[in-house]
């Protein structure tokens, strides 16, 4: 038996991976050379020592948890967070372009009054927006349009003249609901709405 085969045999024995044939081979070796038991004992001792060292080094693993809740909150905040981080000049430039072109104008119409008149008829998308705001206020659904625009992205326009800006417009609306629900699980693990019979105490998604 080569030295390597001897090593493999001892390794199987001390790792409790030896087959009956391996044990027979070991006994046969020991019959010819009893010192192999000393090798086995030394190998077992080294294995035990190393196992202790590894166990101590990895014991900290029992205290490390997966941050599932933190991640869920982070993902949620990512959906709600509608801003982007910009250098000050880029944000200022994009807002300047918007104001200069008159593309966006926060509503200055007092609540309850229609800017477009008795029968609002949209001729452009801006007019349609104003009609929506007006009618919504009358219906008690729209509270107001938020004055701040949220810039999502800004880049130089393809023709090199100015900047292409994507921005978010926010409208505050009001609704009356019969109950609040949260997502729960049925017996099959499927998502189902579960009524929560209490008033919300903080802002969050509906």
């Amino acid at each position: 038996m080569s030295e390597h085969e001897r090593d493999v045999l001892i390794t199987r024995v001390i790792d409790d991976e030896a087959s009956p044939a391996d044990w027979e081979a070991l006994k046969a070796l020991a019959a010819a050379d009893p010192s192999i038991w000393q090798e086995v004992a030394e190998a077992q001792h080294a294995r035990s020592l190393l196992a202790d060292g590894v166990a101590e080094a990895i014991a900290i693993a029992d205290e490390v948890v997966v941050p599932v809740e933190e991640h869920a909150r982070w993902r949620f905040s990512q959906r709600l967070r509608l801003g982007a981080t910009w250098a000050g000049w880029a944000a200022a430039a994009s807002l300047g372009v918007i104001w200069a072109t008159g593309l966006v104008r926060p509503s200055t119409t007092p609540m309850g009054m229609s800017e477009a008149g008795l029968v609002p008829t949209a001729r452009t998308h801006s007019q349609a927006l104003q009609d929506y705001l007006s009618l919504g206020r009358e219906a008690g659904v729209v509270v107001d349009q938020m004055p701040d625009l949220v810039v999502m992205s800004a880049k130089q326009s393809p023709d090199g003249k100015g900047y292409e800006v994507l921005y978010l417009r926010q409208v505050l609306e009001r609704a009356v609901v019969d109950d609040f629900y949260k997502l729960g699980k049925d017996e099959l693990g499927r998502d189902v709405p579960v009524g929560v019979h209490r008033a919300p105490v903080k802002l969050g998604p509906m």
């Binding site: 080094a57 948890v65 997966v66």
Partner: protein, 223 residues
Amino acid sequence: MSDLTANIERVRTSAAVRGDQEAIRALWQSNRRWVAAILLAHKPREADVEDLLQDVAMTVVRTISELRDETALRPWLRTVAINAARASGRKATRARREPRSDGGALPPDNATLTPDMALERREEARRLLDLARQLPEGYREPLILRCVRGMTYAEIARLTGLPETTIETRIARGRRMLRELREKAALGEGGPENAEGDVGARAGRIGQTVGDDGPRKGGPEHV
């Protein structure tokens, strides 16, 4: 891992991929020890296992939904751990922290040791682990993994994608290399023995070399 355990893990993995938080927690709890062993085998000396484990935990939470094969959870975890260990090597070194102390309590398997003996054993175990971490990567990983409860040759083979015979061969050779490193370290500590004398003494203990009976059926693979 038994078939039942494997099936449970597969079901949990499927649920975890769909975002089930409890399933993610359960999978982490049942696998974090051997993941820590992977980190131990691959991390730079200065890196901290706890820090790396937290990095891995975060990566698991963020990316487990991308796992396509439910049976490949463990190899995937291993890859995440190795990547985390290697990435830490590219970061600035940090102060090496002392190993976690258990307050001096005796390990259960050595309850008969006196406190001094237990301390000496602990120090010896740490030195041996330090030496093991100097082995080539292909040898130290299976050797360290073998020290984790439940990591059989078959399980390590599944994890690494290597044949079982290769794993046992690498563990056997790794132990021989570790023994030689340990002997060199003992000589380097100013022991009176010279290298030849020590090897001679070892040969004497082993005794006559047994004749080679030729290759064994299903014998170890030479790697």
